[in-house]
């Protein structure tokens, strides 16, 4: 499994949904799981984004599918960064 960091910003529509049905947050996580990925950490943040999610997914294609699926509802705008745990990254730099 690879790690991805998904930055999400709510649209006006998304904000409305969140206010009316806070439990929607959990439902989205279950839908992501149904598509073969898993949300390992999730934070609501102040600043340029609304949520930061750390996902585990088998590959880029799965993540692309999730992005399209969630994005198509018009409630969030997603930016996804492929990520590598820093220890693995350091090892890679050292050429091991």
């Amino acid at each position: 499994m690879a790690t991805y960091i998904m930055l999400s910003t709510l649209t006006d529509e998304g904000r409305k949904t969140l206010k009316e049905r806070p439990e929607r947050l959990q439902e989205v996580n279950r839908e992501i799981e149904a598509m073969g990925a898993r949300v390992t950490q999730q934070y609501a943040v102040l600043g340029g984004y609304d949520f930061i999610n750390i996902l585990e997914a088998p590959d880029n294609e799965t993540v692309a599918r999730i992005s399209v699926e969630l994005g198509s509802r018009g409630t969030v705008v997603l930016t996804t960064l492929p990520a590598l745990p820093v220890d693995a990254f350091t090892q890679m730099l050292k050429g091991k």
Partner: protein, 343 residues
């Protein structure tokens, strides 16, 4: 402790350094930890940022300090977002608006008179009906006590407050107010805030603390009033005494008043958390000797003293030294964790 997500972009200099010495990364992490942050997770990413790090730090100011320190090296550009854990965020979303301003008239002469007349109907009637019988021990411990005090009690039932009010001698009861969770008793949809403030002697406290929470209770103490507060925060589900929050100790130390512990037994059977209709049963209220915090300098030590006074009343062994919960509320962090009331 707060959670923060830090996005890092390397500068050309930073890129050069990393290439020369990949272990630089760990050095930066260690430096952040030395400055008081804890790195929870860290990833190297592809995209507009090079690294994404989840850290825990005491507060916004600490994060700004750490950020300034690290970006001062000229190797990175940081973008930091204060973060809220998702389950807590969901709670926040579901929270209703509530009143936080106390009804200042509640300490007036007429309010005290009306409260006293209404007590039979609002408080005593229920206590007599459901506490069969109510036995109060240790009243003699308050013989020498004068003036204001912080009254603390263990909390497992909504009936605790009527029992504490009934157990106190009239000279304290006549000038006492009770810290009540604002989100519960002063939620906007409830219309009878004045009724609680008048007859139940409550004032709203925002759960989670903050220095501002202390203003009203401190002004009460200065005027010779006493405050009833449940140092465990919310009601205990198991009936066991939970760890104390720092608020009551801070108030007693700042207000220079003693703390009167009351241990209540039996109410868990009468009306536990989650039950609406009480079942009558025997109830004991044991009043302990007032605990003076004079000369105690640390909040954690004072909190531990209060906890042990309560445990002694309950016939439990004291906690060893200052245990984790009390230690976490060390002086520096204390103002942020004050409060801790809530019925």
């Amino acid at each position: 402790m707060g959670t923060y997500v830090v996005f890092t972009k390397l500068t050309p200099q930073g890129r050069k350094n990393l290439h020369a010495d990949p272990d630089r990364l760990r050095v930066v992490t260690q430096q952040a930890e030395k400055l008081g942050a804890k790195v929870v997770q860290q990833y190297a990413t592809i995209g507009q940022y090079d690294f994404v790090t989840v850290i825990e730090a005491p507060d916004n100011a600490a994060v700004q300090g750490i950020g300034a320190e690290i970006s001062g090296l000229g190797t990175v550009k940081l973008t930091t977002f204060p973060a809220i854990k998702m389950d807590r965020f969901e709670q926040l979303l579901k929270m209703e608006p509530y009143r936080t301003e106390p009804h200042h008239w509640q300490t007036s002469f007429w309010a005290r008179a009306v409260r006293r007349i209404g007590r039979q109907w609002v408080i005593t009637r229920h206590v007599n009906k459901y506490c069969k019988p109510l036995t109060v021990e240790g009243r003699e411990n308050l013989k020498d006590h004068k003036g204001g005090a912080i009254v603390i009690a263990n909390h497992s039932s909504h009936m605790d407050s009527p029992v504490v009010l009934s157990a106190l001698p009239e000279r304290i009861r006549g000038k006492v107010l009770l810290a009540a969770a604002a989100d519960k008793f002063y939620a906007s949809r409830r219309k009878r805030h004045w009724f609680y403030s008048l007859f139940h002697s409550t004032f709203p406290v925002h759960r989670g603390g903050g220095v501002k929470q202390l203003e009203y209770p401190m002004s009460l103490l200065r005027r010779g009033w006493s405050i009833i507060i449940y140092p465990e925060g919310g009601r205990s589900k198991t009936g066991q005494i939970q760890r104390f929050k720092a608020g009551p100790a801070i108030m007693a130390m700042q207000g220079k008043v003693p703390v009167i512990p009351i241990y209540i037994e039996g109410l868990r059977e009468v009306m536990p958390k989650g039950q609406r209709e009480p079942r009558p049963g025997p109830v004991f209220a044991r009043i302990g000797r007032p605990v003076s915090l004079e000369g105690v300098t640390s909040v954690s030590e004072a909190t531990a003293m209060l906890e042990n006074a309560m445990r002694e009343l309950a016939g439990l062994p004291p906690h060893r030294a200052s245990a984790p919960a009390a230690a976490a509320a060390a002086p520096a962090a204390a103002p942020a964790q004050a409060g801790g009331g809530g019925a």
